[in-house]
């Protein structure tokens, strides 16, 4: 067994609308599968967060994680102005009560703007509470992430599922926004992890697998075989995540 212990920043439970192959859905089964790869903890979303309504997703996620010790929930959130989702202060209180250290947004699917007039109050509340903001790259442009990160410099932003063709925009984002990180599940660029470590430091990378939809072994090998030092591998595998989540005020 190798010396790398992983914390997975991108686990997503629930049945996707269009599954490609059979894979396990049950949280405790997924937990055991990941443990086999030395992935000993993780942040978990629910597919309903993107494919349905955030409130729906959060209810199902709470049920799915009941009794599962190593996973922590990521709440899907949206602005409150229409009355269909709680106001920011209540969202934060409910997240803390549920032990959720991170929130995820799907503005493209849910049809809201991430500009301050619509989402500013929500992001301010998350920033104030030290809750990590996560967003899939398919949902928010890198330009928009830059605006969010600049407007909320104390907000920890984790860009998810970044494509391997994005380096030319990702690097200026990293350069200009110290509070932005990415998770590694789909950042499958040849020598991509190595170059980010070289230019920006391993601290900007968080291990993610997008399991159970994706085979977590691919993401694991992406880190263990990276051309970087063992300490950098440990940071990416889990230490960065632990450090980031310890900063979330309870």
């Amino acid at each position: 067994m190798g010396g790398f212990e992983f914390f997975d920043f991108n686990i997503c439970l629930g049945m996707p609308r269009i599954p490609m192959y059979h894979f396990e859905q049950d949280a405790s089964v997924v937990e055991a599968q990941l443990a086999r790869l030395n992935i000993t903890g993780g942040l978990v979303r629910h597919t309903l967060g993107e494919e349905s309504h955030p409130s729906q997703a959060n209810r199902h996620l709470t049920r799915a994680l009941d009794g599962v010790e190593r996973f922590r929930p990521v709440w899907a959130v949206m602005p409150h102005w229409t009355g269909e989702f709680p106001a920011p202060a209540r969202v934060v209180a409910e997240m803390k009560s549920a032990g959720a250290p991170a929130a995820v947004i799907y503005p493209e699917t849910h049809g809201f703007s991430i500009s301050s007039f619509a989402t500013g109050a929500l992001l301010e509340a998350l920033e104030e509470a030290g809750i990590v903001l996560m967003a899939p790259q398919s949902q928010v442009s890198l330009e928009a992430i830059t605006k969010i990160a600049r407007a909320h410099p104390a907000l920890h932003v984790v860009l998810m599922e970044v494509g391997y063709r994005k380096a030319r925009d990702l690097y200026p984002l990293f350069e200009q926004c110290a509070n932005v990180r990415i998770e590694t599940s789909t950042y499958m660029l040849h020598n991509g992890i190595e170059e980010i470590c070289h230019f920006f430091g391993a601290e900007r990378l968080l291990f993610g697998s997008r399991c159970p939809l994706y085979n977590p072994g691919a993401a694991v090998a992406g880190v263990t075989y990276a051309g970087i030092g063992d300490e950098e591998k440990r940071l990416i595998a889990g230490k960065n995540a632990v450090g980031l989540l310890e900063g979330v005020r309870r």
Partner: protein
């Protein structure tokens, strides 16, 4: 924690595979369309050393996306500089009918290439287009395997078109790059009755269950591993096989033995 075999243990520890892995679908060279760090032979060789890949079968990006002769020369230079580590494909662009066979002859006879790469999608030429016939005839005469891009719904190289082509040119061994992408299930059905077709695994979306579905529904002897590096990460592509829920024997066949058989038949030196 329990691991199923020594391959998984090696990968988890970041140690090279202990047998010589063969990457049957790789490229080489910089790209205009996106940034890939260190896409040259030295940058690729570093990754191969770390993972235990003894041989990468390469086609030059320039040969596919731009000028085939300039790109093919780049692949030849990598082979010469690092003997035994890179086996080049001669890229054939059917949009230059007056040049394409001459280019193949030059690559095979002057550089010692033994394999052909085609990309019907990039070259906007359907696999069944007569423009490819001379290429396939050349491949049949020389015993050269042909790696072709295949992709779901692609009017130039979807699985049904690739199957029709393989049937029509039964004397040529075809490697279906990406196994049709999202059309894997169709590829499994279509290739089942085509003994001259091998399914290649490179994929930027590493679906859980894909490898298990393929090995459970298709002869493992005809599944080969490719990474598509230096576009995408070779380690991640290796990981999806190494950590698949299949036997170590099947993994070894996919990662090495099957490719070795194909390459040996084509005259590419690749023994340990």
């Amino acid at each position: 924690m329990t691991l199923d075999g020594p391959l998984e243990s090696s990968a988890l520890a970041g140690k090279p595979m202990e047998f010589g892995v063969i990457d049957i679908h790789a490229h080489i060279g910089a790209l205009g369309i996106f940034h890939a760090p260190r896409p040259d032979a030295a940058g690729m060789l570093d990754v191969m050393e770390r993972t235990g890949v003894k041989l990468a079968c390469i086609s030059a990006n320039d040969a596919i996306l731009a000028d085939m002769a300039i790109g093919n020369d780049l692949a030849a230079a990598a082979m010469r500089k690092y003997p035994g580590r890179f086996a080049p494909y001669a890229v054939a662009n059917p949009n230059h009918p007056a040049r394409v066979i001459g280019e193949l002859k030059r690559c095979f006879d002057e550089h010692g290439f033994r394999m052909i790469k085609i990309h019907p999608s990039v070259h906007c030429t359907r696999l069944t287009d007569p423009a490819y016939d001379a290429v396939f005839d050349f491949a049949a005469r020389r015993g050269a395997p042909v790696l072709t891009h295949t992709w779901q719904g692609d009017e130039h190289c979807g699985i049904d078109i690739a199957a029709e082509t393989a049937q029509r040119h039964a004397g040529v061994s075809f490697l279906w790059g990406h196994s049709g992408g999202g059309e894997v299930r169709r590829a499994l059905e279509a290739a089942a009755g085509l003994a001259n077709v091998y399914l290649e695994l490179a994929a930027s979306q590493v679906w859980s269950g894909r490898i298990e579905t393929m090995t459970g529904n298709f002869p493992v002897e005809r599944i080969v591993w490719g990474s598509d590096f230096p576009f995408i990460s070779l380690p991640q592509q290796l990981g999806q096989v190494v950590f698949a829920r299949i036997s170590d024997e099947a993994k070894r066949m996919i990662l090495s033995d099957n490719a070795q058989r194909i390459l040996t038949a084509a005259g590419v030196p690749c023994s340990d």
